[in-house]
């Protein structure tokens, strides 16, 4: 699942992951994400932090509540408090991994694969 309010960036992430044969569910904010999350089987979530309506930090807490073993990667590009801050907070709230925006796609894919196949060295 990709949660990102920026349509262009979300689209790009979707395309990139589709190429790796992942099936994708999209959401543009936290509320939409929760509804869709409940209606489908999700292995891993990539979520932006700064979003209108419900932000990524809330999403992380709520999704972990619904499904404690869900893997979450938080991504952020900045905002007044700086990306490091939000991402560290995200980590404290239970995100399994964090990434600065913009990041290399390969890096994201590496992380996703690491999280989904933990037994692989």
């Amino acid at each position: 699942m990709i949660i990102e309010d920026e349509a262009g960036f979300r689209e790009m992430l979707k395309n990139a992951l589709l190429r790796r044969k992942y099936s994708i569910i999209e959401a543009s904010d936290g509320k939409e994400a929760r509804l869709r999350f409940k209606a489908s089987i999700v292995d891993l979530v990539v979520t932006d932090i700064l979003m209108p309506e419900e932000d990524g930090l809330k999403v992380i807490m709520k999704l972990k509540e619904i499904k404690p073993d869900i893997k979450i990667i938080a991504i952020s590009g900045g905002g007044k408090a700086g990306p490091g801050n939000y991402l560290n907070l995200a980590k404290a709230l239970g995100a399994d991994d964090i990434l600065f925006k913009p990041f290399s796609l390969n890096m994201l894919i590496n992380r996703i694969e690491d999280l989904l196949n933990p037994e692989k060295p």
């Binding site: 960036f9 790009m12 190429r19 700086g82 560290n88 964090i98 913009p102 990041f103 390969n106």
Partner: protein, 628 residues
Amino acid sequence: MEENYIDKYLFNYLFSSSNSMISVIDRNYRYVKINPTFCRMLNLTEESVVDRSVGDIWGDETFHNNIKNNIDLCFNGENVKFEAKFGIPARGIRFFEVTFIPLTGGGQEVMHIVAETTDISKIRLSQNAVNEMEEEFRRLETGIPIGLLRCKTDGTIIHYNNAFSKIIENYGSTDLHGMNLRDFYFEKSLLDIHIIQLGDKKVRTFGRVPLITMNNNQIFCRVSGFMVSDKNTGLPSFIDFAFEDSSREIMLENRLMQAKKLETIGSLAGGIAHDFNNILGSILGYSEMLLEEVGENQVASEMVARIIRAGTRARELTGQILTFSRQVEQEKISVNVSEILEEACSCTLSVLKPGITVRKNINNRDLKVFADPTQIFRVFMNLITNAIAAMEKTGGTLSIDLDSAEGEKLKKESGKNIVADKYAVVAIEDTGVGMEESVISRIFEPYFTTREIGKGTGLGLSVVYGIVHELEGEITVKSVKGKGSVFSVYIPVIEDYSAFGVRPSKEKYKILFIAGDCGESRILSEALKKSGFLVTTTANALDLIELPEDDLQKTDLIVFSDDQKEISSEILMRFILEKNINLPVVMIVDTDYDLSKEKLLYSGIIKHILFRPVSLREMITAIQISIQ
């Protein structure tokens, strides 16, 4: 008989009713006759005075100093008039006007003189008071910082004070009398309008009026006028003007406006930069996918690599704009300013063109501030590089000064927003080309540059501005076209730095920092140590190869700054792979780094690539992300 009667009556009347002390004195300086006022003034009876000498009554000293010679003159037949101060018991010192008139009786010889002594103390005292007031007024007129001027109704100058001379830069002390006030008005006709306006209403303030000084500079003064009319005719006789120099006021207003403008540009640019980062994310992401798609096609993959490089460069620029608009949070630790300044000096001054001399004056080596050292380093690097560039053609002297200053003093001097008690002040001064006023006022705006297109981004000073303000500091610039410029950076000093900054991280990560020659990397590795990491720094990547394997295995992470002379990143990575060192690597590269080398990323060794300039916060976050 009749006349004699009138004379005698008149004499007696005047003698006894006069407000003056009147006495008759004989040749032996003895009082023969005194009037009632004399008795009243000296509080003596007539009997106790008559037949006694003048010296007895007034004291011998007074008699010999002031009186005797005048009496002698009078006995020679002259009328004598003089003023004197006499001390009178119970009345203190009084001022008197004394007149001696010789009485000749029937013969030629003067037998007696009449002395008329009038107390003029009251007149004297009020005259003194008037003199003092006049003196006071003169002092006020001379000392007051307001220019005062009196002119005729046609503008001809009658009188002016020092301050007026100063305001119109009359340093050569030219006599302005007879000149016309109109000569100092930028708009000559404005004075006529002012005079007409004063005709209706006797007092008026005209607001800020542009004037022209003797040195042909334009200044602004708040001008007030007072029409003075003739008491008898009621017609205007002359006009008094007051001139208050409002240059400083205007300067402060301009600075405030400048700061507000920068603030506005900052939030606008920051917003744009933020959106751009998302767009760049898409561009870079698709480019990466495209790179995979084109596969073995050399031409196509080279093109895509160029897109990625351009995108990365754009990302660096948006990062700089975010720094200017202070939307990037900094990781702050206690930093010794002189150490960073020295590092910046050694990076910039090692290869200096001949013709430029450097004067370094570091007065205080203990000044500590709370900041990201890499950011301060950027500030110094930027200012020193600019100063050198300003002297590229002319040569000259580069002065680098570090000292501390009290906040209160700075506030008065700079008019800037000074809040802390003590500041570290770094001044970078050049004797290069200098700048015009119009350039100075815009120098911190992003994308404002005086260099030719393609040289410099126009972001440098705006980034400096953003960093300094993020530190609650200030930056000022003084410059004279053709003479040079001086940039002063003020950063609040922390007195008790043990309370801040050094924040031991919970996990003591061991980091091997391969720093190379770049000053920035060295500063970064020092900063990491202060942030609580266990850092081993080595300048040379070859050291890594010689490092005992045990030491390597104890390390948690390698930071590799890609500016090694002896060894390229690829060779290093191959070495790490061969030795089967299972360590995450964070790589620091320049933005023009060839990303086709990014194949290294696939190996999984490089967990993170950071582009210069790297802030401490970026570094720490990258380390935290990479060690998992």
